[in-house]
């Protein structure tokens, strides 16, 4: 495959490495037969480059536009895959699973005599819910809310 003609074509296409390029240039300079072959391919290359493109009928664009008018307008994939839809689907499955689990637990008559945790659930909540704790919780909520609002407004500005 690596004939002199192939090398000459590669040289004309500019796809040879520097060392191979120099080698073929030397061959063209030193060998009259190769030089004549090179000149023939050079002219042939120019002729190939001048090939004509065929023209479709005058009504081609109109026909295409009439056909695409019947199709729904294309939408970018990013727009198609809306994150809200994914969150809604995720939320729906989560709620469904929780509802199903609750229903099963509520209706089951689970009894494990050998399994007794003896955990005292009788917490004194008033001891923990102090005004400071409530204010701290609300403050954290406010900070998170402001961060989300900032991100939302930034996104809107970027889109504009």
């Amino acid at each position: 495959m690596n004939t002199i003609e192939q090398q000459l074509w590669d040289y004309l296409d500019g796809s040879l490495e520097e060392s191979a390029k120099k080698a073929i240039e030397e061959k063209i300079e030193s060998d009259a037969e190769i030089k004549s072959q090179y000149e023939e391919l050079l002219k042939l290359n120019l002729v190939f480059g001048e090939m004509d493109l065929d023209e479709p009928s005058m009504s081609f664009t109109r026909n295409v536009m009439e056909s695409v008018a019947l199709a729904p307008a294309p939408i970018a994939m990013k727009t198609k895959v809306d994150k809200k839809i994914i969150y809604c689907i995720g939320g729906f499955f989560l709620v469904s699973l929780l509802a199903l689990m609750s229903y099963v637990l509520y209706n089951s008559n689970l009894h494990m005599p050998g399994f007794d945790l003896n955990v005292n659930f009788d917490f004194n909540l008033d001891k923990y819910i102090t005004p400071t704790a409530v204010y701290s919780f609300l403050f954290a909520d406010l900070v998170i809310g402001l961060i989300f609002l900032d991100q939302f407004l930034r996104k809107k500005l970027t889109h504009k």
Partner: protein, 193 residues
């Protein structure tokens, strides 16, 4: 103003709802897509149907076009697959598209011409005639390389072939074109070349 818009800008406009701008993309690429289709179908009517189908498919799938690649390369991939599907449907030369026998058959179909009758025609006519006698994929590779401004890698992507295979086929196609031009033009080839 509109002529200055790049393919990517036009695509973005179409995706944003300005669907009429797709006509500009069609006008810009129709000659090349049609020529490419003609390389496979060898018939103007079929080529027009393939090219039209290709643009409709491209429009429907425009949302999936990854804007990191050239639109033309993506379009030529669609043209190639549409042409192949069309040929399979119409049971034309499909099983033997890469086959030497088809090449010989196609050659025989047009071998009855008299070279003397073409004496007054220019080199473009002879070149187009020689290209039409090549195997479809060889003709498509030569067209993509010289007129489509596509690299060997991009042609490989469009025709689902390795760049090395494209390189071999391109070399073979050029050799055959040279032989055919020599045969078609006989002594005049020296003047042409």
């Amino acid at each position: 103003m509109e002529q200055e818009l790049t393919d990517l800008v036009l695509i973005q406009n179409v995706l944003n709802g300005e669907t009429a701008q797709y006509a500009l993309l069609v006008k810009r690429h129709q000659r090349f897509v049609f020529t490419l289709a003609l390389r496979f179908s060898k018939n103007r009517e079929d080529a027009e149907e393939i090219a039209q189908d290709c643009f409709v498919k491209a429009y429907k799938a425009l949302g999936t076009f990854k804007q990191t690649a050239k639109f033309s390369t993506w379009l030529y991939t669609i043209t190639y697959t549409t042409a192949m599907t069309f040929l399979r449907k119409n049971r034309l030369n499909t099983s033997s598209i890469h086959d030497e026998e088809t090449f010989l058959q196609l050659e025989n179909q047009t071998s009855g011409f008299n070279a003397n009758s073409y004496e007054k025609q220019d080199s473009h006519t002879f070149l187009n005639l020689a290209i039409s006698q090549l195997m479809p994929d060889d003709a498509a590779i030569v067209t993509l390389f010289y007129k489509g401004e596509q690299s060997l890698e991009e042609i490989g992507e469009a025709l689902h072939m390795e760049p090395n295979t494209i390189k071999v086929k391109l070399h073979r196609a050029r050799q055959r074109l040279k032989e055919k031009l020599q045969y078609l033009l006989k002594d005049e080839v020296k003047e042409l070349l």
